[in-house]
Symmetry: C5
Subunit: 354 residues, 5 copies
Amino acid sequence: MALRFLKPVRGRARKAGTPPGTLPEGLPEAGEVSIRLIAYSHEKLAERELPPEGIRGTRPQEGVLWLDIIGHDRRTLAACGEAFGLHPLLLEDIATPGQRPKLEDYGDFLFLVLSMLKVGQEDEVEEEQVSFVLGPSWLISVQEREGDVFEPVRERIRAGKGRIRGEGADYLLYSLVDAVVDGYFLVLESLGEGLEGLEEEVLGAPVPETAAGIHRLKRELLFVRKGVWPLRETIGGLLRLESPLISNDTRPFLRDVYDHTIQVIDTVETLRDMVTGLLDIYLTSVSNRMNEVMKVLTVIATLFMPLTFIAGIYGMNFQYMPELSWRWGYFGVLGLMALLALGMLVYFRRKRWL
Amino acid sequence: MALRFLKPVRGRARKAGTPPGTLPEGLPEAGEVSIRLIAYSHEKLAERELPPEGIRGTRPQEGVLWLDIIGHDRRTLAACGEAFGLHPLLLEDIATPGQRPKLEDYGDFLFLVLSMLKVGQEDEVEEEQVSFVLGPSWLISVQEREGDVFEPVRERIRAGKGRIRGEGADYLLYSLVDAVVDGYFLVLESLGEGLEGLEEEVLGAPVPETAAGIHRLKRELLFVRKGVWPLRETIGGLLRLESPLISNDTRPFLRDVYDHTIQVIDTVETLRDMVTGLLDIYLTSVSNRMNEVMKVLTVIATLFMPLTFIAGIYGMNFQYMPELSWRWGYFGVLGLMALLALGMLVYFRRKRWL
Amino acid sequence: MALRFLKPVRGRARKAGTPPGTLPEGLPEAGEVSIRLIAYSHEKLAERELPPEGIRGTRPQEGVLWLDIIGHDRRTLAACGEAFGLHPLLLEDIATPGQRPKLEDYGDFLFLVLSMLKVGQEDEVEEEQVSFVLGPSWLISVQEREGDVFEPVRERIRAGKGRIRGEGADYLLYSLVDAVVDGYFLVLESLGEGLEGLEEEVLGAPVPETAAGIHRLKRELLFVRKGVWPLRETIGGLLRLESPLISNDTRPFLRDVYDHTIQVIDTVETLRDMVTGLLDIYLTSVSNRMNEVMKVLTVIATLFMPLTFIAGIYGMNFQYMPELSWRWGYFGVLGLMALLALGMLVYFRRKRWL
Amino acid sequence: MALRFLKPVRGRARKAGTPPGTLPEGLPEAGEVSIRLIAYSHEKLAERELPPEGIRGTRPQEGVLWLDIIGHDRRTLAACGEAFGLHPLLLEDIATPGQRPKLEDYGDFLFLVLSMLKVGQEDEVEEEQVSFVLGPSWLISVQEREGDVFEPVRERIRAGKGRIRGEGADYLLYSLVDAVVDGYFLVLESLGEGLEGLEEEVLGAPVPETAAGIHRLKRELLFVRKGVWPLRETIGGLLRLESPLISNDTRPFLRDVYDHTIQVIDTVETLRDMVTGLLDIYLTSVSNRMNEVMKVLTVIATLFMPLTFIAGIYGMNFQYMPELSWRWGYFGVLGLMALLALGMLVYFRRKRWL
Amino acid sequence: MALRFLKPVRGRARKAGTPPGTLPEGLPEAGEVSIRLIAYSHEKLAERELPPEGIRGTRPQEGVLWLDIIGHDRRTLAACGEAFGLHPLLLEDIATPGQRPKLEDYGDFLFLVLSMLKVGQEDEVEEEQVSFVLGPSWLISVQEREGDVFEPVRERIRAGKGRIRGEGADYLLYSLVDAVVDGYFLVLESLGEGLEGLEEEVLGAPVPETAAGIHRLKRELLFVRKGVWPLRETIGGLLRLESPLISNDTRPFLRDVYDHTIQVIDTVETLRDMVTGLLDIYLTSVSNRMNEVMKVLTVIATLFMPLTFIAGIYGMNFQYMPELSWRWGYFGVLGLMALLALGMLVYFRRKRWL
């Protein structure tokens, strides 16, 4: 079973020894990349698909320019780097999945890497990296794969609903980050349902598969937790950042999204505590059932061993065994056995074994 | 079994993708809401029920104005928002149960969210959100459900007892927060009694249900703990806040309520430690009883297996078995068996198995 | 079994809804209170019992005035409050046992609450609250019950030994705090002896009662620990406090008593680690003994089951069983059994089961 | 089995009592040491092997001078000390393997000690110490053993690829540190693969060797972890250092390598959590299998003990046993036994033991 | 078994109620104390034994004066107090073994208490307190017992080797502290060897004594750890101290010894983690062996119980049992038994129980 959190380690290990700013080896020169340009202000809205070479020359006149890129290849990254003057290390980070969430202030622009979580088809948590570069009136966002988590934001821009059309690029960044964080709640909901199911099993009729399920949930939580703590740091950093790129009007919204990440962390930690407790209860119930089995065994053995022994005695072939010829010998022994069995049953009841 | 702490996660998950400041979908336009206006100063007192539209135009002339709202719908929130100039994010927070306790300083007013705990009818801990907005001489409090935790404060205002009538809105806020924190002690008392009962069971005659009880108590404590740490932060923030809205006369009282939250946390942590220790003791006693059962089994088997074997030997049908025809053969074998059994009993006693 | 640490929670729960500064309900108007006035300077010493109303009018001319109160009732507290201008919250704290140790600076005077530990008659740790109010040249100390922990300090004042008669009220406070902290060492000594006894049992011949003893010690330590951490904070706060009430000459002594509280904490934590380790060892030894029992059972069963089976074969009543009529059949079978038993014993020895 | 992390403790213990700055006893006067001098600027490149005495007189005119030393003996260290004015404690640290990673700022130069990890031939993690001394335009690097981790950097210098030839000695230091940190990812990849293998075993068919494997992996992780936390501190210190030796152009690169060390730590901690969880699952599966074995035993014993007892009864030799002479006695008893067995099987099925 | 770490608690408990600055009761007026005076500068060296009264009047003219005291009695302490103006609390600390390591800055001099560890004769870790008082050009060191840990320093002074003769009293203090810290490495080496031995036992053939050994090692580590954390604080405090008594030339050496204490702590923590892991592995192996024993028991019982039952059937004495008179009945039954046994063996093999 491949461990997902090892993927970035493997990527990094494969690049050992290359100079800094090197794009990953497997990155194609020209891959399947979708580049969408959305330029808007309070009054105007323009949206169109761009070829990679179209990126050069997209500097906006007024309003906000959003370069919404899905997938990465060398051509596109190079074009972005040239058009917006991006550092090679930054481009390397965009192209290397599995970055730790982080915020870097380059003065003229901010660089923000987040990890986006999704519940996959086999209920496995999947991770995807999203990078943002925020300039004075432009924003570049780069996702790994096609997904519709940003679609509601695009819809809001198109519809001109809410404040988004009247605000700057920082508000757009907030809206996208908020969409990413909202995705965490969907993941937590799914994990929480898994936990509810497991708890019912454990308190009802636990089977060995229950333990495997607990282990699996624990792993998923470990995976989510690994991503969620740096997320908090990163968004907290964004909140505290003193940069002209973040306007004061946007700060309450960032505080709101920051509160959500704290809620995510609280929930992850509580889920972890619950899962740990669940394993304890599972083990306790295994112990209890073992105890019960042992009691049955002991009761049976204690009941029948002495009886069988008595029967064995009178099965001996000695020539001189006076009891054998007694008239009521047989029934007497049967009675004795019944009494013995009765006595033991009373004893077991007293010991609460029955 | 539904996990209560997942409720806010679910609420949040259902709102994924909506713009900020959106009130939750299920919120009715006009629901069952009770709005009570209490205006008082040292000399005067006015108390009356208000319709939602009555909120606009409630700015006080002198003394303190308390808008005491129970339940929420869109109409009431909108009226509050307009009348007091509240940020849409703030209204969203009020209307979305399961917020993490927090304090936000909007300059002109303070926004405070707390979670109130109560012991439900099946001894389950229930949570309810209370929001406060504190202005210079007014206070809005919003509860989710009808409950009488604020009634003693209302009584004190009506009766004019204590300092409350002579103090400002900040003292009223303190009084309400104090009432909320006092509710935690009632919850802790109930949990503590549960722990005492479980401890008696564990040290007396533990049954498998005891383990389930320990698990249940652990979950309740996890739930309480999740609410209580941010409570401390929040009230600590209120205490340290440099805002003209909090007068210096009120600070000693806030310090007092802060001390109480620390006491709550201490008690929760101690209860958690106790519960963990209790599970250990339970498992130890399961092990001990298993040991005892095994000893009985071993003693019985060790006693009767050799005896049965001896009986089996003399039950064999060989034609030439000299012992069978001995005069005292039978009694000799019986004696041998008795000696063997005696020897084993002595051995077991030495091993402390009996 | 009542849990001691729940007492203050219960007290607090019973007061839920009362206004701040309310004295506890059960507090009698006039109870059994001993009030002792000790006024001293380098040259003079006056000591006498006071009635509650005598407190008003005790402002000292020169030297130090110590109001040494044991027990509390409404009358005495009211008199103190009036005579020294104490805040109602402070009086409430004095009268409500189970306060968390704390230090409050009221400018004109300091308020210090500590908890005093004692080993009770059934080796249970008992807690008592001591409150101190320190003014420029006076000190009020309030204990819950008669106890002789302050007697050595009184003796030193009477005898004029040491520096105490020449120093101010802050040095008197230090002396009393030091006496309280010294009491912790007596408690730790008693708990340490309990631990030594349990360790001997565990490493020697553990019985199920040992586990109960470990659990009991763990609870006591939890109780002590709950009191000792805020003690450190409080005394550390006293040490760092910039107040004219604490002279520079007294600071080295406070540092000394602070070192002692750290030593107390270190010891409590080490004891806790030891107790946890002890439980592990106990469980290990339970496992080991279970293993031993199982081995005995297995050896016996493995030895006698095959032998009994062989005997059973020759106990069958078939008409045509050639071995039965052999001359040496019986002795041959006995020999075979002996060989089999021997072989098994060798096998068990190899497996180290014997 | 020798514990690797004890090596430096042993080295230190052997030196107890010697004056500071003493080189370790076993260090040869003249050992097998390779000294390579690489001097480069944007235009020029000179590379040659040096004898130890050649070190004196290597002060560079322009560009960067890299003294790349592998192995250590007294002669070489003394030459370095004289030529570059190094403190004796610094030379002692270079010559004493097992130093904790650290950064020391001597004003004129920086001293940096790192530990380099490698996967050995038996999949054991091996540690090697690398020391760096960074001056204004020169860098000394000292490794313990021949290894090719720095070869890619040398290649980049020779080829003139990337920015390395145009930057200063601080960029060279960064490149080497980056190469060291990249080595950690290779180690983590190997450990991660070990974990994947163990997880498959545990969830499939765990054998006692699996537990030993888990223990071994845990030890390796403990070893890696011990080295990795001070690494983070050290590189973080380098990043925050205000020294003219580190130019502002190099800082983004140091931040990049710092991010990598955090990723290493995150991965180590996650691996540790995984391994701990794995041991829990292993123990759970041991318990489950024990339970299964016990059930089989109990079922067999419960089934056959009563049957054997019945057979025993009719094997008794009483003269008056009426059933024996019944025509259908034998078949009746057989039928009774069959019924009994059937009843028990139904009972076991109900209890889910079958 | 007496717990060593309780010794200081007992000492403190016995002094409860005495005024501060009281020397311990058992301290003799004149005991066996060795006082050695070593006065040295770059050129001169004087060393002689002093009687206690000789201490008064030892103020140095030039160079460094080292008062090297072993053992303590009232006479000597009083003489030191008078001659160097030491605070009574300081003298009490010197005379009361079991102080927590600490650093106190009295302005004119520094007071440093350390605890020195040694491996005793029964491989038990022993603790001894060393106190240092550092003045401008003098140093007092007080040990509890004769020991040769300072002998190498004396030798270096006598021989005039290294920098020691040319440096001040602060360098002498460093040299002695370094000698104390070096002693910790000897202790760690011994504990590490114990761990290696235990690990071999656990992975080889663990016996119940192994568990006792693990427990013992854990206790020793707890004891070392309790001393080592405050040691770090203390030496760290010395390093950061801004006092004219510590010259800048000595600081790099203090940093070196501080690095060593961190290495000690790292090693202690790693050893603790190893020991905890070892206990887990021990318990796992106990479980595994129990499992193995149970399997043997179950295999034997499952094999022979049915066979014995069949033999029992044909041992019944019914008059009408057709099989008994069959010609091949006996051999047929034997064959049936053999087949049954074979079938079971195949079944066990499939279940991997054999």
